[in-house]
Amino acid sequence: AQTVTQSQPEMSVQEAETVTLSCTYDTSESDYYLFWYKQPPSRQMILVIRQEAYKQQNATENRFSVNFQKAAKSFSLKISDSQLGDAAMYFCAYRSVSNNDMRFGAGTRLTVKP
């Protein structure tokens, strides 16, 4: 079974600065999808960004971008110009193309300091 590892339980960043959250995963498949989800204090999970494994180009969504290293099985999230509203738990997730489930990492709690 695929596993997703987030090695940083907590991270903090100064407002307006940049922070990178790490994620690694283990799989024997060549085609899959990767996601970053944000869970604010309201607890509802919100999709931040997605990446298809067959695409070499890193996904970008406004201030959020990823560094996808397929060979290293690494999928980090970079948040630029951090805002107070970015404070949340961030979960990395892996979805296989061969089954219906999505596997999540343990999460990284991001604190943004004013």
Binding site: S42, Q44, L47, N99, N100, F104, G105, A106
Partner: protein, 113 residues
């Protein structure tokens, strides 16, 4: 647009009592449906997923069960709750097929006393 609702939002139940959490999706047909559990300070654990009415796949052996009586309705149940069932339960849906992200409901916090 598609929406997903789950209820109740908060539930406090005694050990040994039954449980029923309900989730409905609107604005789409034939979705894949999921139940996840999130223990305090931890990631999400997949409990059940369903690709159609009456089709349930269980990921973790436990005293919980799931049912899908209608296309857009997903129910999480238990006959007798355990203390270890406490947690935050999330329902989610995705487009039929294997390419899409999951869209989550607001979550249900269950406390078993």
């Amino acid at each position: 647009s598609q929406t997903i609702h789950q209820w109740p939002a908060t539930l406090v139940q005694p050990v040994g009592s039954p449980l029923s959490l309900e989730c409905t999706v609107e604005g789409t047909s034939n979705p894949n449906l999921y139940w996840y559990r999130q223990a305090a300070g931890r990631g999400l654990q997949l409990l059940f997923y369903s690709v159609g009415i009456g089709q349930i796949s269980s990921e973790v052996p436990q005293n919980l069960s799931a049912s899908r009586p209608q296309d857009r309705q997903f129910i999480l149940s238990s006959k007798k709750l355990l203390l270890s069932d406490s947690g935050f339960y999330l329902c989610a849906w995705s487009v039929r097929g294997l390419t899409g992200e999951l869209f989550f409901g607001e979550g249900s916090r269950l406390t078993v006393l």
